[in-house]
């Protein structure tokens, strides 16, 4: 019998890796935004300070960095007041780290939903990134406040036009985090050992980025490797644009962009290919 029916959809064992269904993704836009809303609403339920925690977190971290790295270890901060120096680094770093850790647990945390309903799974990591982006935007307002406070109290700070690049820098961090998180989420779904290793590596990775020290501290011979890290130009450019005008490290910036895109594309392909198969082993 000849079957001439045209089918709208098909379920078969093999999912071509290149078929990223953008149209479908757009159909689920409402779900994406609802997840973000859920996370925002849920994270401050039954807390006394509520949304103030968004501010307190970076302030506490920065304060600890200030004590340890500036007061005790006496690491120079390029002549910038240490507190002001650490604040943006710690904000951007924790944004990256939070995005990676939540994304890499996508399958474990959401198995109860994934086991009952279909929707493009990538909605979940995307919503995570958006949720953390919402937080970082508020935190950057805090940074601006502290920045203005310092300027008014006599600290000489020179910002340049590069501060306009800030959203772009955060965007790179977001894409890099999403890519890393997706790759790890697929790798750790079946064997969870990798989770522990990843958390450990992530902690070490912080010291490979100029979070608690300026990039100028890196000896010349390690400079290239150091700048290979996509987060280095992100944090460094963000900081110099606010504190000390500095020519844009265009070469490293494009390198960082390239690495980020590569990681992101690999992450999306892996995730897209494995998202449903993984449900059999969760």
């Amino acid at each position: 019998m000849k079957d001439k029916t045209v089918w709208q959809w098909e379920i078969s064992p093999n999912r071509p890796w290149y078929r990223l269904n953008l149209k479908e993704l757009i159909q689920y836009k409402d779900l994406l935004l609802r997840f973000v809303r859920r996370d925002i609403l849920a994270s401050y339920q039954q807390t006394i300070l509520g949304p103030i925690w968004v501010f307190l977190q970076p302030l506490f971290t920065t304060f600890v960095y200030f004590i340890i790295f500036s007061r005790v270890a006496k690491i120079p901060t390029d002549g910038i007041p240490p507190f002001l120096f650490y604040l943006p680094g710690s904000i951007i770093w924790s944004y990256y780290a939070d995005c990676v850790t939540t994304t890499m647990n996508t399958f474990q945390y959401n198995a109860y939903i994934f086991n009952k309903v279909y929707f493009p799974r990538i909605i979940v990591p995307l919503s995570t990134i958006l949720f953390h982006s919402f937080r970082i935007s508020i935190q950057l307002l805090l940074f601006t406040g502290v920045y203005i406070f310092y300027s008014l109290h006599g600290t000489v700070l020179q910002f340049s036009w590069q501060i306009l690049l800030a959203p772009f820098m955060i965007g790179i961090a977001a894409c890099f985090a999403l890519g890393c998180g997706l790759i790890v989420s697929v790798l750790t779904a079946k064997y969870r050992d990798l989770d522990n290793i990843m958390l450990f590596l992530l902690r070490l990775f912080m010291f490979a980025a100029p979070v608690v020290y300026p990039a100028s501290l890196i000896p010349q011979k390690y400079k290239f490797i150091f700048w290979l890290n996509p987060l280095t130009p992100v944090i460094e450019i963000f900081r110099t644009s606010f504190f000390k005008p500095h020519p844009l490290p265009l070469f490293y910036l494009s390198l960082s962009l390239l690495t980020t895109m590569l990681v992101l594309v690999i992450g999306i392909i892996l995730f897209n290919k494995r998202e449903i198969q993984i449900m059999d082993v969760i």
């Binding site: 089918w7 078969s12 064992p13 994934f114 009952k116 064997y191």
Partner: protein, 417 residues
């Protein structure tokens, strides 16, 4: 003939059993190295390492029909549902379809306890594939259907379980897909509400002309709701056709089935140095020709085992009856007796008009001196009890775990006007 909406061809699903660990990693690496899955061609039902949950499933679903999928626990119903719902992939075969599918394998998927009822209506609606506009449009209807309007701005973790389910089902009932896939476990909550669910499902199909795929192991429900049915058994479709004739053969199949296990055919008897089980069987006292275990049927359980006696030790056997959701319904015990080493037969009876319709399983526990457990024979008997309503008008699922026929009487006190 109406339009074909779903076409399933040669669907098979393979699962590897056992614990994931370094051993399975080794196998994974081997498979990855060879570039293909290492799946044995011949299904081996005895294997402990893998299982074919579904094998060569073919079926079509036509527009506007309600197709029932019936089978015992473990027949592959849930796996098939999951494949159609795109939660898991088939190992072989393909399903093609037209139209938007919504799957109700559970109500209230993704409900967040900290959020209010209002928020959760949107959250759950979006997860089920509804758009914001659709939910806005149906919001009042959903709230009214759920009957929790007063608590709309209370976090759902403060809801009673009944309210929670009502709200969840209300959202599900207002989905508007072309094809609806429904698991029977959906009809939860109290009897009145279950009735409401089933009525709603019926009206969705009759009045709105929706295509529905309904999964159940309850004959009565399938008969009530479905036009056509498929019987799944051990991962294969064994009959299909209009629901009346399919159900008739399903009932016949169950009747012919021997309920019990004769372990003496196996190479080794289950047990240990104290206890060895020969067999466990269920013998129903059928009431009529039909030979269906329904709620009126009394059930005899008989078992035989070898007992290695010890000095001044008494043997006692406890029998536990569990519901399909692993809830212990009751436990009954034999008297503790000083029996000698040798073969021992035991029997127990569950009277008719006692258990409600549903799936149950039995475990046996062998105790020394009523305290120390010698052996535990877990889930050795599975059986289903069918519904029997007689002349009763109510056609939904009767609530409760037990269903005794204790007398309830009504008297006319005032003279009729």
């Amino acid at each position: 003939m109406s339009k074909k909406l779903i076409q399933a061809q040669e669907i098979s699903k393979y699962y590897r059993l056992g614990v994931l660990g370094s051993r399975s990693l080794k196998e994974d690496l081997k498979e990855w190295w060879r570039g293909k899955l290492n799946i044995p061609v011949e299904p081996d039902p005895e294997s402990r390492r893998h299982i074919w949950a579904l094998r060569d499933i073919n079926f079509d679903v036509y527009q506007g029909e309600v197709l029932g999928l019936i089978g015992k626990n473990g027949a592959g119903k849930s796996t098939l549902l999951k494949i159609i719902s795109r939660i898991t992939l088939p190992t072989q075969g393909k399903i093609s379809g037209n139209g938007r599918i919504a799957s109700l394998l559970e109500v209230g998927t993704g409900f967040h306890g900290e959020l209010t009822g209002r928020e959760n209506i949107f959250l759950n609606g979006h997860i089920m594939g509804m758009k914001k506009k659709e939910i806005d449009l149906k919001f009042d209807e959903i709230v009214e259907f759920s009957g929790v309007a007063r608590f709309l701005d209370t976090p759902v973790k403060r809801y009673s379980s009944g309210m929670y389910v009502r709200l969840a089902f209300a959202v599900a009932a207002h989905l508007d897909p072309e094809i609806l896939v429904i698991d029977e476990v959906l009809a939860v909550g109290d009897a009145e509400f279950q009735q409401k669910c089933l009525t709603k499902i019926k009206s969705i199909s009759r009045e709105e002309g929706k295509t529905i795929l309904f999964v159940s192991h309850n004959i009565q429900t399938i008969r009530n709701i479905c036009d056509r049915a498929l019987v799944l058994d051990k991962g294969r479709i064994i009959t299909s056709g209009d629901s009346e004739s399919v159900l008739a053969s399903y009932i016949k199949m169950n009747r012919d089935q021997y309920l019990g296990t004769d372990y003496s055919k196996l190479p080794s008897l289950p047990g240990n140095e104290f206890i060895r089980i020969y067999k466990v069987e269920l013998i129903p006292d059928f009431l009529d020709q039909n030979q269906v275990i329904d709620i009126r049927t009394a059930l005899n359980i008989e078992f035989e085992f070898f007992y290695q006696a010890e000095e001044s030790g008494k043997i006692q056997v406890n029998l536990q009856v569990f519901s399909a959701s692993d809830e212990l319904i009751f436990e009954i015990a034999s008297e503790s007796r000083a029996l000698a080493t040798g073969r021992i037969r035991g029997s127990a009876q569950i009277p008719g008009n006692f258990l409600n319709d549903g799936s149950y399983y039995i475990s046996l526990s062998f105790l020394r001196n009523s305290t120390s457990r010698l052996f535990y024979l877990e889930s050795c008997l599975y059986f289903d009890i069918e519904d029997f309503k007689g002349s009763m008008e109510f056609s939904g699922k009767w609530a409760g775990v037990v269903r005794p026929s204790f007398p309830v009487d009504l008297f006319q006190l005032t003279d009729p006007a």
